[in-house]
Symmetry: C2
Subunit: 179 residues, 2 copies
C-alpha cells in the first residue's frame, strides 16, 4: 500500500478473526509494535482514531473506521506451537504464523521479524483484577469492517485466522479491499 | 547465565522498576516474547511458576520466587521517543532502550531485535472494561526481589528504569545477583 491508501478488512459472515501486520516498505525492519502502540495510546483496546506505531515509534497505520470496536493486539499469530501447546493437536497446522511467514518472505521478512499481530475482530476480554483473559468469539456481524489508512508506504500481511477459540469454532473467509 | 542458574533482581530502596530481556545465547535471534508468554500463561500478570516464552515458543526463564506479585509485560523499554511523545521532553535521554541497546550490542543484538521487556516491579493496572491502563508507582518495598531460573543458556539485559511515572517520580538503583 502507498501512503494515504486505505485498507478495508471485512468479515463477510461474522465472527471471524484476521491477523494483520504492517512493515515499512522502504525499510522492512520497521514493523507495527503492540508495546509501542499501547505506550502511546494508553489503552490495550484500539479503535477509530488510534494509530498503530512501529518498533521505531512511527505511525504506520491509523484506524479511520471501525464498525466492531473490539480487536486484540496482545496475542501472537497462531502457529504450530500454538496448536501443540494450547490445543494439544498432534499434527498441528501452520496457522496464521505460517501463512504470514510464507506471504511475507518475498519481501525480506523472516520468521523472527514477525511480532504480535493486530488481530482484527479478535475478542480477548481481560480481567483487570487478576490479569487473566479469555478468547471469546468475535462480536463482529456479517459485513462488519475496519478501515486502516497507511501513514507510510507499507507491506501488509493479512490472513484469516484458523484458531478455533478465536472464531467461535468455525473457519470463515476474510475479505479486503485497498483504495 | 547458564541453564539452571538463578538471577535475583532486587529493589533495594523500593518503588523502582527494572527492565529485563533474555536472549538465547546460542542463537541470539531468539528472545522473550510478551505475546507468546501471554498466549501460554493465559494472563497478562506473571508471577511465581510462570515461564517467559521466546518468539519461537521455548521457555527461556521461569519465575521461581516473587515477593511483589505485580510486574508488567505490556509496555516497551522507555526510549528517546517515549520521553518525546509521553513526557514532552525537549532533550530526551536514551532511557532503558538506550541502555539495553548499548549493553546488548556486543552480543549481536541490534535495536530492531529489542522487544517489549519484562518490566520487574512495574505497576500497570488495566481497566478490563475500557482497556485503559495507568502507570502507577511500584508496590515493591525496600529489599523485595524476584528470582528467575534460566531454562537455556541466555544473555540477559537488565537496567534500572528512568521513566518518572514508572518509579514514583524518583530514580533509584536496582541490584542483582546470579548464582
Amino acid at each position: 500500500m502507498d501512503k494515504g491508501q486505505r485498507l478495508t478488512v471485512i468479515d463477510p459472515e461474522g465472527m471471524q478473526v484476521a491477523d494483520l501486520l504492517a512493515f515499512k516498505r522502504a525499510d522492512i525492519g520497521e514493523v507495527i509494535s503492540a508495546g509501542r502502540t499501547f505506550d502511546y495510546a494508553e489503552t490495550i483496546y484500539l479503535t477509530t482514531g488510534h494509530q498503530l506505531f512501529s518498533n521505531r515509534s512511527n505511525p504506520l497505520l491509523e484506524i479511520v473506521e471501525d464498525m466492531v470496536g473490539r480487536h486484540d493486539f496482545l496475542l501472537t499469530p497462531c502457529s504450530k506451537d500454538t496448536f501443540r501447546i494450547c490445543y494439544d493437536d498432534h499434527d498441528p497446522h501452520r496457522g496464521c504464523f505460517g501463512n504470514l511467514a510464507e506471504a511475507l518472505a518475498p519481501f525480506g521478512v523472516n520468521e523472527d521479524m514477525i511480532p504480535s499481530a493486530f488481530n482484527c475482530f479478535m475478542n480477548v476480554p481481560v480481567d483487570g483484577e487478576t490479569g487473566r483473559f479469555k478468547v471469546l468469539p468475535p462480536i463482529s456481524k456479517a459485513g462488519d469492517r475496519i478501515v486502516f489508512e497507511a501513514k507510510e508506504d507499507v507491506v501488509i500481511g493479512l490472513t484469516a485466522c484458523s484458531a478455533r477459540d478465536s472464531n467461535g469454532g468455525s473457519f470463515k473467509p476474510i475479505h479486503w479491499t485497498v483504495d
